[in-house]
Amino acid sequence: METLAISLVNAVPLLAGVPLWTVTLLLMVAVAAVILVFALTFEGVGSLVLRKVAGDIQARIGPNRVGPNGMLQFLADGVKLVLKEDIIPANADRLLFKLAPYFVFVGSFAAFVVVPFGVGLIAADLNIGIYYVMAVTSLVVIGVLLAGWASNNKWALLGGMRAAAQIVSYEIPVGMALIPAVLIAGSLSLQDIVRSQGGLLGIFGWNLFHNPFTFFSFFLYFTAAQAETNQTPFDLPEAESELVSGYNVEYSGIRFGLFFLAEFGDMFIVAALLTACFLGGWNVPFFNAGTLPWIWGNLLSLGVFLTKTFTMVLVMMWVRWTLPRLRVDQLMRMSWKYLVPLTFVNLLGVSLWLLVFRGKGIPGMIASLFG
């Protein structure tokens, strides 16, 4: 961000008198605003796409009255939520009740900072990218627990406890499944991970095809991430038909809207990490987007990244509408007895592979055979 600020000051002589830190700060705020707009738009459109996909799978039409083909439904929903009465239960803990949605939303939104949208499009290329994402998305646990407790409702409490148990247990497989990508790239920074999948191998440069263990860890991460974002088959905390919406049962209006939006934000983060770590991120096959002028290179890589990410979001929705949900003890069993051992075995496998084959993947070895 500093370099960008410096180049901006150099480009625009008007800003010569302004101290650098002001420009940097303003730039940061501007970038955050852009990302917020993107995140909110995605979350809104994502809720609409979810309903349309649900309609298609369930042999019916989704929303199609508001706007052409129902495209403005999310705006109508947003306006409706904002205009609703703000009901806080009588004996609820008011401060915690009001605070909880913000924790959940911040936990989801703060991870957008390290998402590599394009060649030069990343809000902050932290050198601890993956750590940061995992740490920040854990804020959601606090939010959910607060929501469950502060609602003064036994169903909400049950939902909150279940959610906390679930999210905490699935943190480990999520982390372990992402580490193969880190090992191959040699860095925690997401831009480095994406760049390591670029090059002349095109699609086969993706981490997905690097070796059988990373192929496996793609699916492990997908499963664990589906649990992290409370999607069916792991949506116990908000099990509509059992807990009557779990921890957000007492929330109405825009407070509920924040929980709802945060869910889609989480979905995007998960899909973005999947794309960045396993599907080549913003790399255009057989083409170095850095060679194009700045704006076209960024647009092209942004387009590629978003296409891949949205495809992964669609796959998550597809799985959501197919499977029933797991009971809470089965969910914990799945995490601790299946995913954790599998991800550890996977990690061991990747490490051994990289040691034995000196960091080369299968496509790389085949390519080197042909020179």
């Binding site: 799985v319 197919t322 499977l323």
Partner: protein, 238 residues
Amino acid sequence: MGLKAYLNDIVEAVVTTAKGMRITARYGVDPKEEVTLQYPEERWEIPKGYRGFLHNDIKTCTACNMCVKVCPIDCISLESVRGADKKMVLCSYDINIGRCMYCGLCVEVCPVNSLLHTSGYEMASVARGELILHFIAAEDAPGIKARVARQVAEAAVKAAAQAAAKAAEVPSSGTAEAAKVAEAAKAEAAKAAPKPEAQAAEAPAAAKAAEVPSSGTAEAAKAPVVEPTVAKEGEKKE
């Protein structure tokens, strides 16, 4: 749990999930699988015999009260007076379709098939009173009663005159029977006589009203049986 069972679990989970996802994918991409009928632009074709709103053709209705008696929840109420030809004349006929459960028992028992189901099913209202269908407008009832009373009185006068004429004709030989007939005729004449006087006050005032409802009832009767919208207009005119 052995390793074999463990791996079997994983494989089975993946395979059954994949099978299910294949089915939902097919539904997701196949546009023929949308079965939604977009009401109100598209409407379901109502089959013949559909038990929609009720309609009574009051010209055919004989006010036999069968429908009133058979309704399990007492939604039908009617009022009738005996006419000059000894048949009942309908003064008012109300069906509360807000209470009605569309069981069809009343239509089944109607001996003259005047009460029938239409294919109507749309009558959202804001007040429960709007859901009471009046097949004869409320203000027509006194007029009908007056008209019928007048006709009955005229018939009675005519009958008395006929009986008197008959009594005069009968020869004095069959005295016992003739005396009885003459007395019966005189009794009838006496009975019939006060009626026109009683109704005389009402008759001129109601006579005018009696002319108007005939058009109203004719319109309600004109409404065809199977078209709900036309019938609705005819009935809601109050």
